[in-house]
Symmetry: C2
Subunit: 253 residues, 2 copies
């Protein structure tokens, strides 16, 4: 069943975990569909804060981490949360490994980042029209590729009131692979919302100093750096909860 709500077409609804409703949606931008998922409390009494979730490289809008975050924001915090597929990922290409040559090709395409930023802006505009969303309280959560796209998005989107970023920096093998660092360096001084920045201290793909320098470039007066031991893909339950709590604190007020 397809229903439309403003610029947004809902493609179906599932209830996960009883108290959380999950809905697939599409937003059109220049005729192309942007596929997404929206999680929200099954029973909504008033407009809730919205957290946009940016998945990592080789992931997709309903990867384990996105699903976990969507459920936790909706169930535990009463928030809405939404994820969209990145270029080449999920329903937009189905990449499952950052070693896939197609992944590198994405990053070598001109306008890759501005296009994804435009996707996010279109999705945010459509989601903001929903009654269940309080458009004055929108946050962003995205690490690794979720930062490589998300940091430039947050930097140019004043509707984002708080952000969780990280697992990305100015140097490292992932930078060599993507050539994305200049974008991050240029965008960081325009990030002014309260920012939580996550670093895996032993990250084998973005080295720690390149991450610290990126953090240092972020202009937000209210910014926090949190580093934890372990490789790029590792993240402890405490670290995840800490990042969720940061957004909850800033968006609940």
């Amino acid at each position: 069943m397809t229903t439309t709500a403003g610029a947004l077409a809902f493609l179906g609804e599932t209830v996960v975990e009883g108290r959380v409703a999950e809905r697939r949606f599409e937003v059109l931008r220049e005729g192309e569909p942007i596929p997404g998922i929206l999680w929200a409390p099954a029973a909504v009494s008033r407009a809730a804060p919205l957290v946009l979730l940016g998945h990592g490289g080789s992931g997709h809008k309903r990867s384990d981490r996105m699903l976990e975050l969507g459920i936790r924001f909706a169930r535990d915090r009463g928030f809405a949360a939404a994820a969209i597929d990145g270029p080449g990922h999920g329903d937009r290409g189905g990449l499952t490994s950052t070693d896939d040559p197609a992944y590198r090709a994405i990053w070598q395409r001109p306008n890759n980042v501005p296009e994804m930023v435009a996707d996010w802006r279109a999705a945010l505009a459509a989601l903001s029209e929903l009654e269940l969303v309080d458009a004055a309280r929108v946050g962003y959560w995205g690490l690794s590729m979720g930062t490589m796209f998300g940091l430039p998005f947050v930097a140019t989107e004043p509707r984002i009131r708080a952000a969780v970023l990280g697992k990305a920096g100015l140097t490292g093998s992932s930078v060599d692979r993507s050539g994305i660092a200049p974008h991050l360096r240029e965008a960081a001084p325009n990030v002014t919302c309260p920012t939580y920045f996550h670093v895996q201290w032993d990250d084998e793909r973005f080295d720690r100093y390149g991450s610290l320098f990126l953090f240092d470039q972020i202009a937000a007066a209210e910014k926090e750096l949190h580093t934890f031991p372990g490789l790029h893909a590792e993240m402890t339950p405490q670290a995840l909860e800490s990042s969720i709590a940061f957004l909850a604190r800033h968006l609940s007020a």
Copy 2:
């Protein structure tokens, strides 16, 4: 009323907040009394973890922060917690400002740090004899001067199983004043227990890079860096809770 328990003399007991018992104590080291305070759950059923609390410069064993931490560890976590006066502070000199020339004099005294480390070791040995203390689960919490003394203590004391350190680094006006940095630089590679390191990003007394470099020198495989906006003396409730939760997690197991 004075009662003795092994090497420790209790000088009186107060119950604060109903569920927390607070006791002043003294431990003798080479004939000199080390004055301290022990907080513990008023009703103790089995040996509890112990957190040693190192106060900051111009503070003392029962400064607001120490009292708050003692109560929170005892009441909220069921832990014991103990603080002792640093040299020149509290009952050992009564310093109330780090601008006091006597403060600088403390740091210019040879063996200042080894003496305080020895005080901590004597206090820990005495406290470990108490039935209410589980000597296998001891942690340390100390920022600023609590790190300037505490980091060398943690570095040489294998009984410390987890530590909260920070608000201190290798460069900054407080380093110029104390000349303490060589000590910290030498000791950090011997800190091997799980360590939570707190940085105030706008610290006017220890600059951020000197703090990051100190953190980098800490040898612990399991170490976390947490930076928050604000000047040296500032600390948000969330940052404090986060440091408490770290010790609770590592000492509860």
